[in-house]
């Protein structure tokens, strides 16, 4: 069970449709300050259903959509698609491939997609279950947050273990 592809289109600085193919093992992402690396991490968190904008370095849905620049008009929507290989049946569903998607529009609305079908956020969260991806407390470690677990109070830290359990 692993991540095969990530496609961003209109998400933050990814105004152009951009695809990533992930190998099993380690994928490194490099580049200068402000180039868009952390935006990729945000896109994965967002596609997995994140609702807390403070964890997406934004304030509202509008911040997720390419705002334009001095040389380019803004986008009308943001779209992220995560495709998983499920041939080992890790996700308890029929498909050997699972595509989790999310779209957002300027009016603030969000859509959630599972293998091309519109579903509720709830369906995505249920599917992710206790894989560590539902709450993402230890699966998407944000920039500057590696030692968040050390700064937390003991009671707050528990959430990390509850998601793993």
């Amino acid at each position: 069970m692993h991540l095969k592809h990530l496609v961003l289109n209109g998400y933050k600085t990814f105004a152009n449709k951009t695809s990533f193919a992930f190998s099993e093992g380690i994928t490194a992402v490099i580049g200068p300050n402000g180039s868009g690396k952390s935006n990729i991490a945000d896109s994965i968190r967002w596609a997995l259903g994140e609702q807390q904008f403070s964890l997406l370095r934004g304030k509202k849905t509008d911040d997720m959509i390419f705002a334009g620049s001095s040389r380019r008009a803004r986008a009308s929507m943001a779209e992220v698609l995560l495709t998983f290989d499920n041939s080992d049946g890790f996700f308890p569903v029929e498909f050997t491939e699972i595509a989790i998607g999310r779209r957002a529009y300027r009016d603030g609305s969000n859509e959630y997609l599972l293998n091309g079908n519109r579903v509720r956020l709830r369906d995505i969260t249920d599917l992710l279950g206790h894989t560590g991806l539902a709450e993402r407390t230890y699966t998407v470690i944000g920039q500057g947050l590696v030692d968040a677990a050390l700064t937390q109070r003991p009671e707050e830290r528990r959430a990390l273990f509850e998601e793993a359990a």
């Binding site: 069970m1 692993h2 991540l3 600085t13 990814f14 105004a15 152009n16 951009t18 990533f20 193919a21 992930f22 190998s23 099993e24 093992g25 380690i26 994928t27 490194a28 992402v29 490099i30 580049g31 200068p32 180039s35 868009g36 690396k37 952390s38 935006n39 990729i40 991490a41 994965i44 968190r45 390419f66 620049s69 040389r71 380019r72 998983f84 206790h130 894989t131 560590g132 991806l133 230890y138 699966t139 998407v140 470690i141 944000g142 920039q143 947050l145 590696v146 030692d147 677990a149 050390l150 003991p154 009671e155 707050e156 830290r157 528990r158 990390l160 273990f161 509850e162 793993a164 359990a165």
Partner: protein, 158 residues
């Protein structure tokens, strides 16, 4: 089957003693429950003692020691409860050469069961990767991504 919180906690605590020692090349660390009698409400304490030092509070640890301790905890969780993938955004930023080498080595071991997407400025970490994406910002404000081979990567050494 879903393990109880207690079973999971104990497995992670055991793994943590090991991952800490490996990442620090010595020293010792423990996880404890704040209240062993009330498992449903208890918080989790972290005790970390880098090699050659007296046990002291987490507050006194250095920047690099904090990153490495947090890394040890993360790796302990992943050893007990592997997740399909894990995204790490510059978690190696505060580590010196010796610590980056041990961190990378554990990353490589765990990558057999968990897929890692690692954003980094550190060449040593990049050398461990099977796939490398170079991200750039275009003049029009849009990001572009390019798949690179290691010999095409122009980073400074650290």
């Amino acid at each position: 089957m879903q393990a109880t919180f207690k079973q999971t906690f104990e497995a992670i605590a055991t793994a943590f003693q090991s991952t800490f020692k490996i990442l620090f090349g010595g020293g010792m660390a423990r996880l404890t429950l704040t209240n062993a009698d009330d498992i449903d409400e208890a918080g989790i304490d972290i005790h970390a003692q880098p090699p050659g030092k007296r046990p002291q509070g987490l507050a006194l640890l250095s920047g690099g020691e904090r990153s490495l301790t947090a890394g040890a905890l993360l790796f302990a969780i992943l050893r007990v409860k592997p997740t399909p993938f894990c995204v790490m955004d510059e978690v190696d930023a505060a580590l010196d050469e010796a610590n980056v080498a041990r961190f990378r080595s554990m990353l490589e071991t765990l990558s057999e069961q968990t897929q890692f997407i690692v954003i980094t400025h550190n060449r040593r970490t990049v050398e461990a990767a099977n796939t490398i994406y170079g991200i750039s910002m275009g003049a029009d404000g849009a990001s572009t991504a390019l798949s690179l081979r290691l010999d095409e990567v122009e980073m400074k050494q650290q």
